[in-house]
Amino acid sequence: MNVIRAIQLYIDKMIADAGPGMKMLMMDRETISVVSMAFAQSEMLQKDVFLFERLDSARSNERLKYLKCIVFIRPTRDNVLRLQRELRSPKYGSYYIYFSNIIPRTDIKALAESDESESVQDVKEVYADYLPVNPNLFSLHIPTCLQALNWNPEALERATQGLISVLLSFKIRPAIRFRSGSTAAQTLAKKVHETINKETALFSFRPPEDGAAPPLLLILDRRDDPITPLLNQWTYQAMVHELLTISKQRVDLSGVSGVPKDLKEVVLSTEQDEFYANNLYANFGEIATTIKVLMDEFQKKAHDQRKIESIADMKNFVETYPQFRKMSGTVTKHLVLISELSVQVGRQQLFEVSELEQEIACRADHSTQLQRVKRLVSEGKLSLANALRLVLLYAMRYERHANCDTSGLLKLLQDRGGRAHIAPRMLEYISTVARQELFNTVKITDAVKLTRNLIKELKGVENVYAQHECVLKGTLEEIVKGRPLDAQYPIMGNEVPFRRPPAEVIVFIVGGATYEEALAVHRYNQEGYRIVLGGTTIHNSESFIEEVLAATAGVPFKHSRSLQQFHQAPAGTA
């Protein structure tokens, strides 16, 4: 199960169906991201697709009747109207229309009635309606999905469509489970379940062989694990996202000083960049070593370049030119990224911050931790964002502690001009389940969990910066081991729950996934499991805090009455 491959297959099929000839691709705002995350533009050129156009933006009136037009759009009302207009006065010779999701029949009829010059050659639904981020990770690019801790209706619709398209692109009719206690997860599970039952013709796949468990779609809620997105990560992809922000495979480096002109925006794609694909999950330290090796190799080649003396040398060089240029591009790109990351690490004192973050997340030691947080927050060397994150972690961890001094910390933060009002919002955001289970504040009754915790403590810490394990990891462990899930993850509908572990798992996190969770999934996949992770979006701490603020806007304060003085945001900020 490779989401990038799934999208690539769809795009290849569209292009193949249009047959030989010069082609152009017409997309909308969202599908253009889908295509660009699967293929580079140069790859599309090799497939004889030469022009790219947006259906929803102003376009010239030039007629190029010798071009075949592949239309790949989402089945929205607006798109259908625009396409109708296009078909009434067609600019291209023939049209091959692909909708990225289920489209109502009435829309097909409207389009057919607009095609007066008989230029449409194909109309199909293909289910490439999600952004493939990594082979095992997809996003729906919904930045904030909740309002007043419930679904924003548009986001719910989009999430349902996205999940349906993921299922169809893998030809899966799953059993659906959701995190019990999460209304958002339950609502989405219900919607997906309803759609599957409505579209029986589409979901009529051959059932798995006798006795095999059906694939599993597991819908989780970010509110159950608000810790993971707040922690500093030390793997390459996660770090780049946290410190520089990856948006649709692109990293904006225009704000970084000393960056060469052509690297103001770099593309990080596992498909086109072998180095990136190999080091996605590598530790910061490991990458530095790897890049050194790459540099040496590069220098060896660059040295060769200087040694060109004869014509034969030159020819040899030109013959290796494509690889050479590719490599040099890769080296400079990652060098720039890595050096910027290490600058940030130094400037933000990330080693110290990260260690404390991990301590708070994994160990209960109130007084020492409070002292350290106090010192770091008040010292003023720390950036406000990092200080805020420490306070947030502390506030969640010691919410019920007798000597909890969240308000004292917030006071310090506020004095420095930090956004203290976020802390009470965060306390409202986290779910009851998280409150009870995240820090083992209630007595553990589950024997298995108890022993696992004991073992963890006995084993000691291998890496102080990676002690924390995301909740998803434990969940996956239970799934692959075939433990009973019904209590925590009830099944949707009246299907008979299977005791055996499913063959394929798709996990979807309402409220956004993180790259740390992608790493957890990757580790399982390396062992031979088949798991795909998705989220309404891919969060770093900054975007997560935005999501929390949007989700809790207008929610009455229940859990954080004691922090009343911080409820109001200072004037001018949201």
């Binding site: 490779n2 297959l9 769809y10 007066e116 063959a503 031979g528």
Partner: protein, 549 residues
């Protein structure tokens, strides 16, 4: 499931065909077993540590991790499993690449810590999550074109018949239309019956009442009524083009529709065009456009077609070049260095042609900032990338001396093997004769050399059949060449000479696929010939023919 036979049993098809060859090191053969070890192991076994890995993927990963030094084994494993996994599935070359890439990535990612195969606890075998995935198929789709056509086509037919009616009328109108306005009007009215204006109180398109200031006008093609403001005009030029779809006048060849007359009519327009209603004009112009776009073949499309043709021609030669090189480095005598250089030159020339065509495309003049300008740039870019990545990236020619050295070594090896083979055969034969003497006579069917020769003769008939195919292909004319004059008594020798002639012709025509096939046939034939010679003239008869001219 792979069944491991006891070590002394027949192992693979390859070893069956040549019983004297060494057993191949790859595959699943447990080479280290002793003769007493007759236990048969089953499953996806690692050939080195003999543990059962249960699935092909895990076996591959295991070998990658644990026995990374055995690159040959890894390669053969991958080949075998790829074959198995792709069986019965259509699989493009790109998906194969992808698969390899994934495996490669897996290999590269393995630095992350846990060795993927160590998880093989007893329960894992039953865990479907661990079972291998076949190659990913393309996802679902849902075709709406049937319904689309069911809605569209009746409408199109209705439009088509209506348009045809209008065109017939237009033809009548154009036929002998007088230039003088009054006569023109009478002419028009005589061809198309006009609607009685008294019945129409309001203009049908703008719904304003008719009166002294807003006069009634008639569409000349359908005869309906409209006001002046709603009237449109179809110029005579356009009208002629619609009536006669195959133009003779040179300005029609431009293929660009003339700008429509939308402005207020003046006397000039009135004289050179027909007043028509919006509906008729739309139908007629639509028809005209469809005719135009069918004819429309601007230079860029012709150049693009040449580009595509050139690429399609050279595409199969690029992997062929690689194969020739591989074969040369292997020390095979099927191809010669000159073949590689000829092919390389051909690829180079093709690259030059592609380059010049794409330059011609770039030189086409289009308005700046237009889509067509973007298109020509994209075409050129695609072409440059193709040339760089596919055609110039091919490895350089090997050095002749090196190839000679490799061939020399290979020839020596072959000679040694042949010698050993012959000795073994001789021994076997002697042993057999002894046995025969001991048992006192036997049937010829049991003769090992006889079975050997029957199998090769069947292969030689196969090659003859292939040759007939080749004859039917295209260069059957001068099939025999100089060897035709040498009439030998041995049909096998004849055959060999014919095949050599073919090879020469194929080589001249750069059809290296066929060279390879024919060379294989030739090798079989020579081997067969050699066998016969040995049988006839005794073991001391030296090989009369060398493989390869």
């Amino acid at each position: 499931m792979w069944v491991l036979p006891p070590p002394d049993g027949p192992a693979e098809g390859q070893t069956m065909a040549n019983p004297f060859d060494e057993p191949s090191p790859g595959g699943f053969l447990l080479a280290g077993g002793t003769a007493s070890d007759t236990e048969i192991l089953e499953g996806f076994l690692c050939p080195i540590c003999k543990s059962d890995l249960r699935t092909p993927e895990r076996l591959t990963v295991h070998v990658e991790h644990e026995h990374s030094e055995e690159q040959d084994l890894l390669k053969s494993l991958k080949e075998i499993f790829q074959g198995i996994l792709s069986k019965g599935k259509k699989k493009g070359p790109s998906s194969q690449q992808q698969h390899q890439q994934q495996q490669h990535q897996q290999q590269a990612d393995s630095g992350c810590g846990e060795s993927g195969v160590a998880v093989g606890s007893a329960g894992a075998a039953n865990n479907p999550l661990l079972q291998s995935a076949a190659l990913q198929p393309v996802g679902c789709d849902c075709d709406h074109f049937g319904y689309f056509k069911a809605v569209r086509n009746p409408r199109l037919e209705r439009y088509a018949s209506e348009t045809n009616k209008l065109i017939i009328r237009l033809d009548k109108l154009l036929d002998g239309c007088p230039a003088e306005p009054d006569q023109k009007k009478r002419h028009e009215q005589s061809k198309v019956p006009w609607i009685d204006g008294k019945l129409v109180k309001l203009c049908p398109s703008c719904a304003k009442g008719f009166g002294i200031t807003r006069r009634q006008h008639h569409c000349r093609v359908c005869g309906s009524v409209m006001c002046d403001g709603c009237s449109l005009y179809l110029s005579f030029d356009d009208a002629y083009r619609i009536v006669q779809p195959n133009p003779v006048s040179p300005n029609d060849a431009m293929g660009h529709p003339q700008p429509r007359q939308q402005e207020q009519p003046n006397a000039d327009v009135e004289a050179n065009s027909f007043r028509v209603c919006e509906h008729c004009l739309h139908l007629l112009l639509n028809r005209m456009e469809m005719q135009d776009s069918r004819r429309d073949r601007p230079p860029i499309t012709r150049l693009y077609d040449r580009l595509r043709q050139e690429r399609a021609d050279i595409e199969p030669h690029i992997p062929m070049y690689q194969r020739i090189l591989d074969s040369l480095y292997e020390g095979d005598v099927i191809f010669r260095l000159s073949d590689a250089s000829a092919l390389r030159e051909r690829i180079g020339r093709s690259a030059e042609r592609l380059d010049s065509i794409s330059k011609a495309i770039l030189a086409l003049a289009f308005a700046t900032g237009s889509r067509e300008e973007a298109l020509k740039k994209a075409l050129r870019l695609a072409c440059i990338a193709y040339i760089k990545e596919r055609m110039l990236a091919i490895p350089p020619l090997p050095v002749e001396d090196e190839i000679k050295r490799i061939q020399q070594r290979k020839r020596q090896e072959t000679a040694r093997r042949l010698e050993r083979e012959r000795l073994l055969a001789l021994e076997a034969y002697e042993r057999y004769e002894l046995n025969q003497i001991a048992s006192g006579g036997a049937g010829a069917g049991g003769d090992p050399t006889a079975t050997g020769s029957s199998s090769t003769s069947s292969s030689s008939t196969a090659s003859t059949a292939e040759m007939t195919v080749a004859t039917m292909d295209n260069w059957s004319g001068t099939q025999r060449g100089p060897s035709a004059t040498v009439v030998t008594s041995d049909p096998l020798l004849d055959q060999i000479n014919i095949v050599r002639g073919y090879i020469r012709q194929a080589r001249e025509a750069h059809r290296f696929e066929e060279v390879a096939t024919l060379e294989r046939n030739l090798a079989e034939l020579t081997q067969e010939f050699y066998h016969r010679q040995r049988l006839d003239g005794g073991p001391e008869a030296g090989p009369p023919l060398q493989a390869g001219p």
